[in-house]
Subunit: 223 residues, 8 copies
Amino acid sequence: MAAKHQGFCDLGFAKVDIDRKSRRGFEEVVYCPGKTTKQIKDICRKLIAHKQNLLLTKLERGAFIYLKKTFPKLRYSPLARLGYLNIPSKIPKKGFVAVVSAGTSDIPIAEEAAVTLEVMGNNIKRLYDVGVAGVHRLIGKLEIINKANVIIVVAGMEGALASLVSGLVKAPVIAVPTSCGYGANFKGLSALLTMLNSCSPGVTVVNIDNGFGAGYFASLINK
Amino acid sequence: MAAKHQGFCDLGFAKVDIDRKSRRGFEEVVYCPGKTTKQIKDICRKLIAHKQNLLLTKLERGAFIYLKKTFPKLRYSPLARLGYLNIPSKIPKKGFVAVVSAGTSDIPIAEEAAVTLEVMGNNIKRLYDVGVAGVHRLIGKLEIINKANVIIVVAGMEGALASLVSGLVKAPVIAVPTSCGYGANFKGLSALLTMLNSCSPGVTVVNIDNGFGAGYFASLINK
Amino acid sequence: MAAKHQGFCDLGFAKVDIDRKSRRGFEEVVYCPGKTTKQIKDICRKLIAHKQNLLLTKLERGAFIYLKKTFPKLRYSPLARLGYLNIPSKIPKKGFVAVVSAGTSDIPIAEEAAVTLEVMGNNIKRLYDVGVAGVHRLIGKLEIINKANVIIVVAGMEGALASLVSGLVKAPVIAVPTSCGYGANFKGLSALLTMLNSCSPGVTVVNIDNGFGAGYFASLINK
Amino acid sequence: MAAKHQGFCDLGFAKVDIDRKSRRGFEEVVYCPGKTTKQIKDICRKLIAHKQNLLLTKLERGAFIYLKKTFPKLRYSPLARLGYLNIPSKIPKKGFVAVVSAGTSDIPIAEEAAVTLEVMGNNIKRLYDVGVAGVHRLIGKLEIINKANVIIVVAGMEGALASLVSGLVKAPVIAVPTSCGYGANFKGLSALLTMLNSCSPGVTVVNIDNGFGAGYFASLINK
Amino acid sequence: MAAKHQGFCDLGFAKVDIDRKSRRGFEEVVYCPGKTTKQIKDICRKLIAHKQNLLLTKLERGAFIYLKKTFPKLRYSPLARLGYLNIPSKIPKKGFVAVVSAGTSDIPIAEEAAVTLEVMGNNIKRLYDVGVAGVHRLIGKLEIINKANVIIVVAGMEGALASLVSGLVKAPVIAVPTSCGYGANFKGLSALLTMLNSCSPGVTVVNIDNGFGAGYFASLINK
Amino acid sequence: MAAKHQGFCDLGFAKVDIDRKSRRGFEEVVYCPGKTTKQIKDICRKLIAHKQNLLLTKLERGAFIYLKKTFPKLRYSPLARLGYLNIPSKIPKKGFVAVVSAGTSDIPIAEEAAVTLEVMGNNIKRLYDVGVAGVHRLIGKLEIINKANVIIVVAGMEGALASLVSGLVKAPVIAVPTSCGYGANFKGLSALLTMLNSCSPGVTVVNIDNGFGAGYFASLINK
Amino acid sequence: MAAKHQGFCDLGFAKVDIDRKSRRGFEEVVYCPGKTTKQIKDICRKLIAHKQNLLLTKLERGAFIYLKKTFPKLRYSPLARLGYLNIPSKIPKKGFVAVVSAGTSDIPIAEEAAVTLEVMGNNIKRLYDVGVAGVHRLIGKLEIINKANVIIVVAGMEGALASLVSGLVKAPVIAVPTSCGYGANFKGLSALLTMLNSCSPGVTVVNIDNGFGAGYFASLINK
Amino acid sequence: MAAKHQGFCDLGFAKVDIDRKSRRGFEEVVYCPGKTTKQIKDICRKLIAHKQNLLLTKLERGAFIYLKKTFPKLRYSPLARLGYLNIPSKIPKKGFVAVVSAGTSDIPIAEEAAVTLEVMGNNIKRLYDVGVAGVHRLIGKLEIINKANVIIVVAGMEGALASLVSGLVKAPVIAVPTSCGYGANFKGLSALLTMLNSCSPGVTVVNIDNGFGAGYFASLINK
């Protein structure tokens, strides 16, 4: 009730934003690091009580197991480290989002994007390990990529794939730098700067390892 | 002819990408810094010869005056430092893109985005100087912002406006950090990091001062 | 005695500043990292011998349990990682300090500020999880915030909350960047730069994760 | 009128915040870099029309001379690069703020703080060139410093003065790093980091070269 | 004579390394910034006196004109900012080095590499403006590139071209990041990190804008 | 079959590049971090099925033991953290590559280069611990170094050895910065910048700790 | 024997510099990180065989215990993490070196300097915990400090103590930044920059946490 | 008079430290950037009035010409940008300081050190342009270097010379990184990090381009 009035439920340690869906089109998403499992559980309970979908990012497996006891329908993607529980009413959109990764090591972040997209009701196609070291792998999948409404490119190390894909297609490209690599990679800084400086227009960038953010944004523009 | 075959015209110092429009939906855009005015002129001549629209970014006024002699229909936005010459057949899209700037000093970059959008056939609305120092100015314009298909937020200094706008709307937000500010702003790094770390999903980021890139991307997703 | 003369007690590994209270208005505060529990104990003993309040920052729970055996009245805030033992003569000040946090994950640092303020004899009000992703949560608490003498804003990720709060109030704002976040957050650098570049005057900044420093400074100006 | 309603005057390129004084206690301050002199003039005209004080920061001398023609009462501090025009009704506060600079080269930024304080109705005392290379100069002025309500310390190079002053006094210290120095000073980064890491509590920090911000904040807490 | 003995001529301000050719295979190359034109002239005189080739890097046009008076045979590439005077006995090597640039703005650095290679007796082929924004331009030239003994890739902005080329060929790739670009390019840091983190083996990197260094190294391995 | 057609085998999580050898002269090398041991095993199986050599970089001992069960001929260098399985048909090249390390702590990275070279069919000579702190150790080995076709210099801390070696020889020098050191070494940044700024031409650089990359490149140019 | 000839003993993984003492005045010092205990033992054996003093820096306790079995006279300072074995012939120098630390947490690095000085035959005086937060502690020890031949100042956090001490004395000051601190300390960068930018001449700086380097240098100039 | 009492003359904008010589052994040195020529003149007048030597660092030629009118005996080194006026009573010390520069472009900073040393009464020997690109030039001068009491090494670019010299001699080495170079030199950062990470003990470092600081420190330890 109070929540209805103010648009949020005050738990003291958290003000759960019940108003988020009507204001922004999707429910509040819970960023898990730095929260105790008890806090996450209390937030979930409030969201469920207000008939909201759940999406929990960067959720550790141990925390999921703990939450599963209280919310038996909660699902989990261990690769994407996403917990979710969604109400099936969503009608999948036409068209699809292509989630493209440069290397096998980038898959966890690519999966974070992919599962976010699925939870938000999008069709997706995964194209993994098509980095610039063997560009024929990308070219071989160009037909699929060219049909996508939106393209997410996930790449670590030098992150060159985003510019390359963008130069070949009409669809907007959302680039996700990952922290894969070592040395002068500086935990993803290298790929981040590469993507920000793309010589090919039609690319925007999210934070390092922010697969969720890319998936969320792609869902907004996938129509 | 050769160009038709290979998709580009080889000028030696430049390989003009005649194929860009069919492949990417918009013609090759010319980034002017580091090119001589003579080189820019030769590139423009080739593009025009292939009936392409012109868009010249970061173009200095002096260079424009020089080009104007050869291409009398070339137009120029001194604020946005954009030269352009477009063929009027484009049908403006329904809906509009909101171009929002935090401060007056950010207007040149906001204009770069706005004029890019106009050249690419979009309706736009400008909302300038609505930064967080007086948030009622933003709130006073919320009705307009909420109707936009896409929102571009241009901000320097601490760049907080992108997160704030994103938290209030359904539309996707493209954030453009600017180099406005001094000291620990480090030529735009401050606003860039702010925007990349937005706690509000639905934000992606382009390079510092890259108004063109934001406009281009917004045009892709404005339908 | 020697201490009275020179203003400090020389323990070899530490020169305990007995003169601090008369000179600065509050006793020497002990920064615990890098000190052995034995060293902390010896310093505490000297301070108590000179009838001084104790405040131990960044104190691990294990070290607290060890110290508790020697100083049974020592208290501990596990969230704030503060140990303290204060002599009750302090008369609480009129008015209060608002301690505002952007997210739930920022609470440990917010608590460090809050408990420091309480130990130093201030009234406080806690407003947690009112970040810019749902600005109505902040607006809903504006009445309280507007009555505060001083406001501490604790935020990680992009740290935009400090500018926003400052733009709405008359009171001075002390901003505490936290290391909450990932990727281009660079362990708090992002929030730090945001806060230093605030477009809204009336904001000063302390070190990343320095809740104690913010609380201490707020106590100095809360009258 | 419109302004009364919404709290701002919309000039297109600027939304002048007429509401600032009632909301924040002081009028909107105009940051001049990146604005044309024409834009500054139009903003000033609106502020004056609403009977507001003027404070223009980082104002170049040439721009001042241009503005002076329209606003003959406008005053200017060339050292502080501040333009101002204030309505004399302000009653000076009791007590004073000490503005302390480490070196002669830091004086322009110290003056920015000092003049800001004066325009906002504060008494101040200037103590310039008392850096740590000859600490007896500071000790010789300690009696004055100890009587201040608030202390602003302005220092470039290694910025050590802020910690030192803070260790000697009860009053809060606002530290302003300057870009004075060369080499590994990295345009003020060195002094900024020094001040953020002060081992002495009671110090907060503003942006590099932000004398205005320090003066503004000091005025808020000088009672 | 003295020089013969010690392997250098001592001019006080310079010890001209007469021994360089026998030790390293090529004469001492003169880096011009920070030297007066008088100093450069004196160094050249010594080198010529010992029958050495001249190669002067980063030489300004004004300095060249001054030197030309004394050394009328001195030649100059204004684009590459190289002065040189070589003794024609060198037999050109078989095979060639491909000098590839991403954009037109990278040509000055590409020319520095190309002219260095020519002065050192190599055949070269220039392939300019084949960056990843239109990858068909590169593919169209692949036949030539595949015949090169060594490939130099010169690219600014995101510098993705080096990885891409390397993934397509057998020859070693020497990558030269340039400072072309703006914003988060940070004067070439972006391209530098990209190239250092190349996911495709077979790439090494030289300093930002060091076309000379790339040309020199390529000459060593072009056989 | 499918692989023959497209040049890669699609495992879903990886597209194994079967075409690499014919295109680039050496098989796809597997970078192990971020891949599960199961993924590595599946990739290896595909490569072996296509009669390709195996080279696995940054492979942990535990993963090797797991792989050994399936591929009993797989060999491992624990120092270099390289797994490999090569088909003996390669005829060793004439001449040799000198692998030079500055200190004993740099040996793991030097070994990564050395073993890579051996797997690729090169003769090598190891010269370890000849850093600039005792330059006579290098001078004592100069005769050997001078006979090398290519020289790899591996150094951490200040990385000065690369410039020094380069100044003494005709052969090209490939410099590998290592992360050995502490403090202002910043995990190899110090040595990286040193090597990029070498005042002696004839040096190129690979990523920090990228012994494999240096070995691979050296093999390309060792003829 | 061979060693006598070339000035070093070649162990393959190390070239032990037997010539160091005659050339530099002190034996080769062994930096332990990155070396196996077996390697350290072999190096020690060679040094002892050539009647050299031993000094092992950054030596872990476990490694010491292992070495102690072979070299029962080896001594260890656990605080300084130094192992040493010195031949008593050294005549202590007149005068002394003052080793000054800002805080208790800086003592391990201060001890590294102090023990290094003792092993090298110097008298020292320790003055710990005299940082700028309570400057009277330093002033109270000024008489001692003023008598020192050389002063080592060890400080983390903001590192202001070096400038302050230098401003008060005639003796040269060697500043050692430590990694003590958190947040914008950036693992010692803060103190390092402070010390490099000292406004007081007479200060030089060594690497972060390099107590050994400061002690070694101080020994060179303590006469 | 007042000055005698407090040890300084208060000029308002400066507190001239008349006490410096008795306290520190040398007079206050005036750092000129950021001071007006008028301010410098007034400071000089006070110093002369108290019979102090003058040393003015980073003094522009134009300012010198202005000062020369008032102080006709003032001398100037245009290369070192030092103004000085010293009272001849100083007895030159025995022994000498070697000032070694890597390249010709480093000479201005080397001269700053050299002239500082001369003004402070030291004998010096200059050895310029002996960098590691041709190490025989250094070896050829080793006899001289080995006789020096103290060695200053001035180097830009990769700054390797300091480690190399230190490894060859008994005397302490003071390293001065210069901003000579380009690209990843980052205005001297490269040479600074190199020198701080020297693998050869016996090296300390001053700020980038701080020839004066090196000369001053060398004078303190040259006995």
